[in-house]
C-alpha cells in the first residue's frame, strides 16, 4: 500500500514538474514570438488597420485588479482592441519584483516582451546600453503626446537625446500624518524643522504611539527617507550627481550630518520595534490602521491611504528643514516605472501605436477613476468638483509648488553601490554606527564600482 502510494506520488510529482515546465515554455513563447511569425511581412506591420492578425505582449506590474491603475489598463486595452479588431494585446501581469526578475532573465537572452516596464535613470541604463529598447521619440511626437508630460520629467528616461520609456507616474515624497494621533500626543502644529520633528517623535513615543511607520525589510524605504535629510543638509538637490562628477565625496559634511540626523531619529525610537523584519506593505499598514502617527513615503500611497480606515484623519506636510538648511519645496522625486518597447519587437509599429493611444488617454481615465494624484501627465479637471478628498487636493497642491529635487539613491547610483548603501542604512536601524564609518563604507563602495 505504502509503495503504491509512493508510486502515485511520484507520478503526480513528475506530471506537476512537466506541467510547470510546459507553463514556462508557453509563457516565454508569448513573450518572444508574439505572433505567427511566418505570416508577417514587414510592410503590413504598421497598419493597425491592415487586417492581418497581430498580437503583442504587454508586460506590466499591475497585478491587483482592484487598483485604479489596473482598471485603467484593462479599460484602455479593451478600447484599443475594439478599435483594432485585428490586434490582440496579451497581458503578462506580474508583481514588481517578479517582473524585474523576469525581465532581467529575458534580457539576458535578448528576448524581451514587445512592451515592458522599467525603472528610470540608472536602473534602465543597462537595458538601453544593451540596445534592447527602441527610442520612442516618434511616439511622443504623434498626437502631441510629448506636451502632455510634466516639464523635465522625460529627462529621467532619456539617454543621448532619445527618450526610451514613458513613465506611468510621477511622485514626490511627503510626510503623511495622522491628525488624531498628533492631537493625542499634544502636538498642535506640524513640524517645519527637523528638531521640531524630533520633539514630536519623542512626544508620540511617550504616549506609546509608534511615531513613524516603516517597512525596512525592504531596505529602499529607509533609504528614501534618509535621502530627504540629505537633500536638506546638502542645501538642495544634486549631492549624488556631485559625487559622480567628482566634486564631492561621501565623506562630505552634508552626508555625515545626514547620517547623524538619521541616527538621531532611530535613537529617539521613531521607528517600530523590529523594523528591519517588517516588509513594505506591512509597514504601510501600520500607518493605515492607525498604529503609527507618521508615514514618510511617495505620494503614490495617497489613494490607498484615502481609502483606508484612517483616511479622513490624514494630512500631509513637507519634509522639514534640517539645521535651517534646505527648501521645503524641494522634494525627493520618484518618477514612476515606465513603459518601454523592445527594439526587436516583430510588430514594433503596432506596439508604438498602442503605447501612444494608451499614454494619451491614461490621464483622463485615471482622473475618472479618482487616481489623479501622482500622474506623470498634466491632469485637467476640477478635483474638488470630481469628489477628490482634501488629502488628495493638498498633495496635488504640493505638486504645483515643486521647485526641484533628487531621485532615489538606487535610481542614481549603479546597483552595486546602491546595495551597499541600502545595507549600510539598514544597519543603522539595529545598531549605532560612527557616521564617518558609514561615509567611508559608501565611498569605498563607490570607488570600487566606478
Amino acid at each position: 500500500m505504502a509503495k503504491k502510494m509512493k508510486t502515485v506520488g511520484m507520478v503526480l510529482a513528475a506530471s506537476a514538474l512537466t506541467l510547470s515546465l510546459a507553463a514556462c515554455g508557453s509563457n516565454n513563447d508569448s513573450g518572444n514570438n508574439a505572433s505567427p511569425s511566418g505570416s508577417a511581412p514587414a510592410a503590413s506591420e504598421g497598419g493597425a488597420a491592415g487586417g492581418e492578425n497581430v498580437s503583442i505582449t504587454f508586460q506590466n506590474i499591475y497585478p491587483d485588479p482592484t487598483t485604479p491603475t489596473a482598471k485603467a489598463l484593462k479599460q484602455l486595452v479593451q478600447e484599443y482592441q475594439d478599435a483594432h479588431p485585428n490586434v490582440k494585446i496579451e497581458l503578462d501581469t506580474l508583481n514588481t519584483d517578479n517582473q524585474k526578475q523576469k525581465l532581467k532573465t529575458q534580457a539576458a537572452s535578448k528576448q524581451i516582451p514587445d512592451i515592458t516596464m522599467v525603472n528610470p535613470a540608472a536602473q534602465m541604463k543597462p537595458f538601453v546600453d544593451a540596445g534592447l529598447f527602441a527610442p520612442l521619440n516618434d511616439v511622443l511626437d504623434k498626437n502631441g503626446l510629448k506636451d502632455t508630460y510634466q516639464a523635465g520629467l522625460l529627462d529621467n528616461y532619456s539617454f543621448d537625446g532619445n527618450v526610451y520609456a514613458l513613465p506611468d507616474g510621477n511622485n514626490i515624497e511627503v510626510v503623511f500624518y495622522n491628525k488624531e494621533l498628533f492631537e493625542q500626543a499634544g502636538i498642535s502644529k506640524i513640524p517645519t524643522t527637523f528638531d521640531e520633528m524630533l520633539e514630536d517623535v519623542k512626544a508620540l513615543k511617550a504616549k506609546g504611539i509608534t511615531p513613524i511607520a516603516i517597512g525596512e525589510k525592504d531596505s529602499w524605504t529607509g533609504s528614501f527617507l534618509f535621502m530627504n535629510i540629505l537633500l536638506r543638509t546638502n542645501g538642495g538637490p544634486g549631492f549624488l550627481s556631485d559625487v559622480v562628477s567628482g566634486k564631492k565625496t561621501f565623506e562630505d559634511p552634508a552626508f555625515i550630518t545626514a547620517v547623524d540626523k538619521f541616527q538621531d531619529l532611530v535613537q529617539a525610537g521613531a521607528f517600530p520595534d523590529g523594523a528591519t523584519s517588517i516588509d513594505a506593505t506591512a509597514g504601510s499598514n501600520l500607518f493605515k490602521t492607525g498604529k503609527a502617527a507618521m508615514f514618510i513615503l511617495g505620494t503614490w500611497e495617497t489613494g490607498a491611504i484615502d481609502s483606508s480606515s484612517v483616511g479622513s484623519k490624514v494630512g500631509a506636510f513637507q519634509f522639514p528643514t534640517v539645521d535651517g538648511k534646505g527648501d521645503l519645496n524641494e522634494y525627493m522625486l520618484a518618477p514612476g516605472t515606465a513603459f518601454a518597447i523592445s527594439a526587436n519587437s516583430k510588430h514594433i509599429d503596432v506596439a508604438k501605436d498602442f503605447l501612444n493611444f494608451y499614454t494619451l488617454n491614461l490621464p483622463k481615465v485615471q482622473f475618472e477613476l479618482k487616481n489623479a494624484v501622482g500622474q506623470p501627465q498634466k491632469v485637467e479637471g476640477d478635483l474638488k468638483a470630481a469628489g477628490y478628498s482634501d488629502l488628495s487636493i493638498d498633495v496635488m497642491n504640493m505638486f504645483q509648488g515643486v521647485k526641484g529635487g533628487d531621485l532615489a539613491f538606487d535610481n542614481t547610483m549603479v546597483p552595486a553601490v546602491a546595495q551597499v548603501h541600502l545595507n549600510s542604512l539598514q544597519n543603522l536601524f539595529v545598531q549605532k554606527v560612527e557616521s564617518s564609518q558609514v561615509a567611508k563604507e559608501h565611498q569605498a563602495a563607490y570607488e570600487a564600482n566606478k
Binding site: K104, A130, P272, D273, Q426, V430
Partner: protein, 296 residues
C-alpha cells in the same frame, strides 16, 4: 551488474532521457556558471573576461562572504545534529507508542506547509512585544522581561532564530525517514535477540543502529546539502538583513547577482557553493561508508 542479461543498448535507451535531462538542466548550467564566474557582467549588456578576479574578490576582499559561509556551515552542522535526535525519537515512537504513524504524520505537517507561510508564521511569533509577538509575550507573562528580544532584527540572535525554524520544520521530515527505517527492520531479529537476552537499548545498540546506517546516511546528506542551499526561509524572514547579519551563501549569491547586478560575481559564488556541496557530499559519504562497513 548485468543480472538480467539485458543488452547494453536497452539500458542506454532507458537511461538516456534522464541522463539528457540531467546534463541539460544540471550539468551544463554548472559548467556555464563556472564560465560566467570569470566575467564581469551585469547580466544584460556586454560582458568582459576578467579571469579569476571574481574569485579573488570573493576569497579576499568581500567582507560579507566568509561570515555567510560560516553561517551556512553552522546551519548545516545544526541540521545534522538534529538527525540522531530524530532517530532517537523514531526508536521511542516505534517501541512505546501505539499508532505511532499518527504522531509521525503530525510531526510531518510543517514539511508540507509552504516555506513562505512558515516564515510569516514564525515572523509573527518572533515579533517584538509591541507588535504582539507571541514568544516575547510568553516571556513577559512569565516575568522574564529581560529575556525579550527582537529575535529577527538583533544581529546577535537573528540567525539562530532562523535556524530554529528550519530545524523545527525538517524535524518531521527526518523523523519520518528514520521511523520508516526503524520499522523496516524485521521483527524476527529482535525476537531472536530477545532470546539471547538483548532487549531495549541494548538491542538498539547492536541491531537498530547498524541496520539503520544506510537510512541515517540519506538523512545526513539530505540535511547537510539542503542547509548548504538554504535560501527561501532566509529570504522570507529577513532577506539576509539586518545589514547582512543573516546572509547565507545562497542569499549572498542572489543579492550579488540580481540586486547588485553583478552576475559574474554571483556566478563565482554559485561555483563555490557547487564545489562546497560536492566536497561535503564526498566527505560525508566516505565517513558514513566507513561506519557502515564497521557495523556490517
Amino acid at each position: 551488474m548485468n543480472v538480467l542479461k539485458v543488452p547494453g543498448r536497452t539500458i542506454a535507451v532507458f537511461i538516456l532521457p534522464a541522463l539528457l535531462l540531467y546534463v541539460c538542466i544540471v550539468f551544463i548550467p554548472i559548467i556555464v556558471s563556472f564560465y560566467t564566474g570569470t566575467l564581469e557582467w551585469d547580466g544584460i549588456g556586454d560582458s568582459k573576461f576578467v579571469g579569476l578576479d571574481n574569485f579573488k574578490r570573493m576569497f579576499f576582499d568581500d567582507p560579507v562572504f566568509w561570515p555567510s559561509v560560516k553561517r551556512t556551515l553552522l546551519y548545516a552542522v545544526a541540521s545534522m545534529i538534529e538527525i540522531p535526535i530524530c532517530l532517537f525519537m523514531a526508536i521511542l515512537l516505534n517501541r512505546y507508542v501505539r499508532k505511532a504513524n499518527k504522531f509521525v504524520s503530525i510531526y510531518f505537517t510543517p514539511v508540507i506547509l509552504s516555506v513562505v507561510i512558515l516564515g510569516q508564521l514564525w515572523k509573527t511569533i518572533y515579533n517584538p512585544e509591541s507588535m504582539g509577538g507571541m514568544l516575547n509575550g510568553v516571556l513577559v507573562w512569565f516575568g522574564l522581561d529581560s529575556w525579550t528580544h527582537n529575535w529577527l532584527t538583533e544581529p546577535k540572535f537573528a540567525m539562530y532564530s532562523i535556524y530554529i525554524v528550519s530545524l523545527w520544520q525538517y524535524f518531521g521530515y527526518h523523523l519520518l525517514i528514520q521511523f520508516t527505517g526503524v520499522q523496516n527492520i524485521p521483527s524476527e531479529i529482535y525476537e531472536a535477540a530477545q532470546i539471547d537476552g538483548a532487549e531495549g537499548f541494548k538491542a538498539d545498540r547492536y541491531i537498530t543502529l547498524p541496520m539503520i546506517v544506510p537510512i541515517f546516511k540519506i538523512s545526513i546528506v539530505l540535511a547537510f546539502i539542503g542547509s548548504l542551499q538554504a535560501f527561501d526561509l532566509v529570504m522570507v524572514m529577513t532577506a539576509g538583513g539586518p545589514a547582512h547579519a543573516t546572509d547565507v551563501i545562497s542569499t549572498h549569491m542572489y543579492n550579488s547577482s540580481f540586486l547588485s547586478m553583478q552576475y559574474g560575481y554571483g556566478s563565482a559564488i554559485a561555483s563555490f557553493l557547487v564545489v562546497l556541496c560536492l566536497i561535503f557530499t564526498v566527505l560525508i559519504n566516505f565517513g558514513l561508508n566507513k561506519l557502515e562497513r564497521k557495523y556490517s
